[in-house]
Amino acid sequence: MSASELGRLAAQSGEVIDRTSPIRFNWNGNSLTGFKGDTIASALMANGERIVSRSMKYHRPRGYMTADFWDPNGFVQVGDDPNVRSGHRLIEDGMTIEPQNVWPSLDRDIKAANGLVGRFLSAGFYYKTFIKPQKLWPAYERVLSTFAPGGKVDLDTPHRYHDKRYTHPDVVVAGGGPAGMAAAAAAAEVGANVLLVEHEHQLGGHLLWGSDADRAVAAELANRVSAAGVEVLTNTTLTGRYEDNWVGIVQRSHPLAVERLIKARAKILVVAPGLIERPYVFAGNDKPGVMLSGAVRRLVNMYGVKPGARAVVFTANAEGDAAAADLDRVGIDVARVVDARNGENVVSASGSSKSVKSVKLGDGSEVEADLLVTATGWTAPTSLLNMAGDRPVYDEGSARFYPSVTVDNVLSTGGISGDGSVDELVAHGEATGQLAAGRASVVKHRVQALTARSVPVAGPEPEWTADFRPELGRDDHPELFRSTTHGIVDFSEDVGSKDLVAAAKEGYDSVELLKRYTTATMGPAQGKLETVNTVAVLAEARGETIEQVGTTVWRPPYVPITLGGLAGRNFEPVRVSSIQPWHEANGVTPIIAGAWIRPEHYGNPADEVNNTRTNVGITDVTPLGKLDLQGPDVPKLLSQLYTNKWMKLPIGSVRYGLMCAEDGVVLDDGVTGRLGEEHYLMTTTSSGAASIWEWAENWLQTEHPEWQVHVTPVTTGYTSINVAGPKSRELVGRLVDDVDLSAEAFDYMRVRTGTVAGVENCIMWRIGFTGELSFELHVPSGYGLHVWETLMAEGADLGVKPFGLEAQRIMRLEKGHFIVGQDTDGLTQAPAVGMNALIKLDKEDFAGKAELAWAMESDQVPHVVAIQTVDPTIVPGEACQILKGTTNEIVGRITSSRMSPTLNRSVCLGQVDTAHAEAGTELTVLLRNGQRIKANVMSHHAHFDPEGERLRG
């Protein structure tokens, strides 16, 4: 017998392939042909390909075992897509499919030599070796890591995103077998809005590979589903159930998306995934040619594939019997039916590396066969129920786990709930659908009652529908997990029952420890095939029952989801001011500052500084945080947030304030002006725009809900322009008629509202970060560009030029203004910044007061000071450390440094400890290149114009 015994059968009545539509694809370098509707697995087997992969550790050749999504042997690389489930993925024209985990090739794999030393490589062997000499471990590690299973990532794979979908159905049904279809139809027929998702490519579940009568029932149910208006998504899987029935659904069948994530708030979730057939553990159970009954029935009946020439069927149930009948019907020689119900058993399978050749039975006889079919029971995929808090309970009589108590809004039906004839399953599904629809209507009523609406919800809340469904039966089934021999339990991890027993004896004898030590159930199927056998082997090793051992916890997702599908479109919006087109047209070098893109400079920051200090410069400061505060209690809020006093700020005045977190660390700073009786405008740092809004709301919503304050973030509502320099009053004066700009009428730290370049309702501040006479204009953002262009045009004769963030930073450093987060850090408490006069401990309360009371008493705080290097040409890099004399003891660091175009020397701000904060102290600064230089602490933060005559001008 050879691999060519596989092939295509004559047409089958239930086949889903279209024999009139051939499809060419490429497998392992060979061009092959399949039919439309073929999975990769069915197409490969129809072409006589039995070996599809090599196992992880021993590199044993592997063929299809379940021939569906869960097949642990069926992982292939399709183009740039690694780990494709070839038992599930349909072939497409021109598809390039490669085997994974083979070296150098599928047929000849050198690492298969590991199989010879298998008994030395028991699970967890690596914990016991490669310990000494320690120096060699990295080399060992490199070798070990070449055994990582799986496909290859192509780093050039594009992220073809697709938008996600949100939906709010009354009932979501996971699983389109007979019970699921009946549930969906029944719920929809009584008016529920139903979404039915089916993991496979067609509705029907196990009926699809059943008898003609089964398929007729499936077709009838599908018609009913459709007639009832159920939305059906096939090749789509419910991946996770989260709090409040928030469910994730991955749709692989969308015509445009690789995978689309659907997020649904299901009022009621019906879980009907059916059952997953369980492999049997015996020597040789991973040989190509050992298949489960469901796989054989699927291949024969749905795909017209001949899975072998001569079969032994080991059966403990009707599915196994049916598999034998199917094989016999299509002319495959069924050499022996081994009936577990009569105490018969399969002991081992042996053969070449390519295929099973003979099967040894419990009675000692050997039967030649290239196909061994096992039907030893099922695993109930209770995963989705577990995510809702359910813990499965084992039933000895039927040899599988069942859900215990489900939560109210999650119901289960179908095979997961019990056994029955097709009619019984349909009846249970219908009852479940009706129950789901009834409960969904109650949930809907509750939601509507909670939602503000113009028309009140009609009538009282309907009664919560009680669960009076008839219970499905539980068919007797022998407990069949492991034969008298040892075999593979976890096929993707290459973990055998012998490994599990050895690990249990070593003390890894709870199911979670065993899993972590041996890696059993940690592979791509996440235990759907392996968990119950793992538990059974452990129970056997411990001499306990399966119930006592219990199972592992199933975690989401139910099926793996691509990162691309999860990410969808990556919403990372870019913010720019309304002046951005002008910046771009005028040679700006941009800088990314959080969400914003803003001008860093327009060519030469030093020139921009010089022009601003001599003539007038304008800069776009739109990202500056702006919060509009209204209400009678605004002063209370300001007093709570800032360290200084705010109860008596006159209208038209502006005050600077410092904000601290509860730990006294400087959080933000800025100015707030009073525009009217109960109307204030707060500015925050650009980076604090969002967080300070949250901070303010946090105080209002959680601590002082009684305060009447309304906070509106208006950062992007205004375009903000700072006009700075000796000629700024003249320039602004050319654009403003309705505000007296004279120094007497509008002096430093005042705010006015007026018309700028014809734009009404602009806010003008006499403040500035640059140290020059300056006006900060907040212009309704639609007019930002207009005002900017007008300033440029009107100021041409005054020498107006734009300046960017870099020039602004230089000028503020020349002036010694600190930047929160640069000159302060996550540890810098308010007393460090030299503004103790602004910390009013006599206020009743403010954020950080308790900590600051301590900090003010202590002398052990860092101090922000101005620093100048002795050699004016050296600019120490930011973050350079300040050391104590010639030692390596850190006493501070440079936090800001630039070459000052105004002073023509380097200027710095830094943090130093108390012992080094005194003016005139000589400091040692360690440059990044290792050189130590001298620098001095200055007497004033401002390197330039310490008296502030220029900005008051």
Binding site: N83, A148, T519, E851, L926
Partner: protein, 429 residues
């Protein structure tokens, strides 16, 4: 006292393999006794390391480690197994550097391969302020002989080709703090190694033994608990145990356990979510952390990518994980490494983090005599496991606070001496 067990070695594997023999239990299963010198609550890295160092460094072996589930079932088995020592403050550096040293020699010390993979640790900077912080850390680290430097995008690309270092991305990578000694380790093996080492020296491990109450006499609070009281033992799901010293080495439940002794902790509990992908061939050689994008990622020798993120922004005891976490995570990962869009997320989970106001732990004595804490480890408990165990053991054995953990005393909150690792801890891993 246990008899000397066979050592793990390649030769041992060969012999036992050839003879078909099995290894003895990694730790013994023994009856729970009525009395111990020290009871440690929590069978994770911290509790087991404390027990191990009590036995090895101080000869205190009449010790029971209790866990309500199985060993390593809490944070020790849920973290992303990253270790590093490039902290910001000298205290932080000294503390974590000691931990890294212990991790480095752990395989030999414990005779168990904990698979410490010293593969390098990159913290990416996506803006100039982050880059400045990286320089700050590098400068501090250099002065303390920690191998740590700032590298530019070209060097980053050479180390990790899968990263998008172009300036086309939304948040271009401007540089990174590179810390070659950082890496990952097999976290479960650390748990088992400590348990095995402690067991060999006579310590008892008791799984499925839940502490229901802590027995205290003479305290100011109700039932004689609280400050001024003295511990007499614990009440467990398997009966009462008397012990003069009870140590709280739990995470997630630290406040609930301390409440049993009448000791209030300034701790709030938040989930930290993590996820792992299906395996693919190894392509990511270093640990990559991006604070701005809230993601850290490494690839195990099995080929899986292990992802973590920032702690959830609310208090919660839920360890199930959320859908929006995986969505955000995937988005950020693809920002960093766009080529991974076809990799598949396999499993997600969450662990519980006990957060203190200054992002530093609470270690040592409490106002209840005989009740000690090693809690409040936030998101960095695993990294600190060995040094925490070593210092806690010293604290118990000498009845005085070791210098290395002086700053982590519970009293600091009342005295206003908070620890300053918050700035650095803001970029967690």
């Amino acid at each position: 006292m246990a008899s000397k067990p066979p050592r793990y070695s390649a030769a041992g594997l060969l012999t036992k393999g050839a003879r078909g023999q099995t290894w003895p239990r990694v730790w013994r299963e023994v009856p729970l006794q009525k009395k111990y010198d020290v009871v440690i609550i929590g069978g994770g890295v911290h509790g087991l390391a404390t027990a191990y160092y009590l036995a090895t460094n101080h000869g205190i072996t009449n010790v029971a480690v209790l866990d309500k589930a199985y060993l390593g079932s809490g944070g020790s088995g849920r973290n992303t197994a990253i270790v590093r020592s490039n902290y910001l403050t000298p205290e932080g550096v000294a503390f974590y550097d000691r931990s890294l040293t212990l991790y480095n020699s752990m395989a030999v010390d414990l005779n168990m391969n904990v698979m410490f993979s010293e593969r390098g640790h990159l913290t990416l900077a996506h803006n100039d302020s982050a880059l400045r912080t990286m320089h700050w850390r590098a400068e501090v680290n250099k002065l303390q002989d920690i191998d740590s430097s700032v590298i530019d995008p070209n060097e980053i690309k050479k180390l990790v080709p899968s990263l998008d270092t172009s300036n086309e991305s939304r948040y271009p990578i401007l540089g990174a703090l590179y810390h070659p000694p950082g890496g990952i380790i097999r976290h479960d093996a650390v748990v088992w190694g400590y348990a095995r080492g402690a067991d060999h020296r006579g310590v008892e491990m008791h799984q499925k033994t839940e502490v229901l109450d802590i027995l205290v006499e003479g305290g100011d609070g109700p039932d004689g608990k609280g400050p001024g009281g003295k511990v007499t033992g614990v009440r467990t799901s398997r009966g009462d145990i008397s012990a003069p010293i009870v140590v709280n080495c739990t995470a997630g439940w630290a406040t609930l356990i301390s409440d049993m002794a009448g000791v209030k902790l300034p701790i709030s509990t938040r989930p930290l979510q993590a996820a792992v992908t299906e395996p693919v061939k190894v392509f990511l050689p270093a640990v990559v952390v991006s604070g701005s994008l809230h993601v850290y990622v490494s690839q195990t020798d099995r080929g899986e990518l292990v992802f973590g993120a920032a702690v959830d922004p609310y208090n919660n005891y839920n360890i199930r994980g959320s859908l929006d976490f995986t969505e955000g995570l995937a988005g950020h990962v693809l920002e960093l490494m766009p080529g991974l869009s076809r990799m598949r997320l396999l499993r997600q989970w969450a662990g519980l983090c006990d957060m203190t106001p200054d992002y530093s732990p609470v270690m040592g004595f409490t106002p209840v005599e005989g009740f000690l804490c090693d809690v409040g480890w936030g998101t960095y408990g695993f990294k600190a496991g060995p040094v925490a165990g070593e210092t806690m053991a010293e604290c118990i054995a000498t009845n005085s606070t070791p210098k290395l953990i002086e700053a982590f005393k519970l009293e600091r909150f009342a005295a206003g001496n908070l620890v300053g690792e918050k700035g650095a801890a803001a970029v967690g891993h």
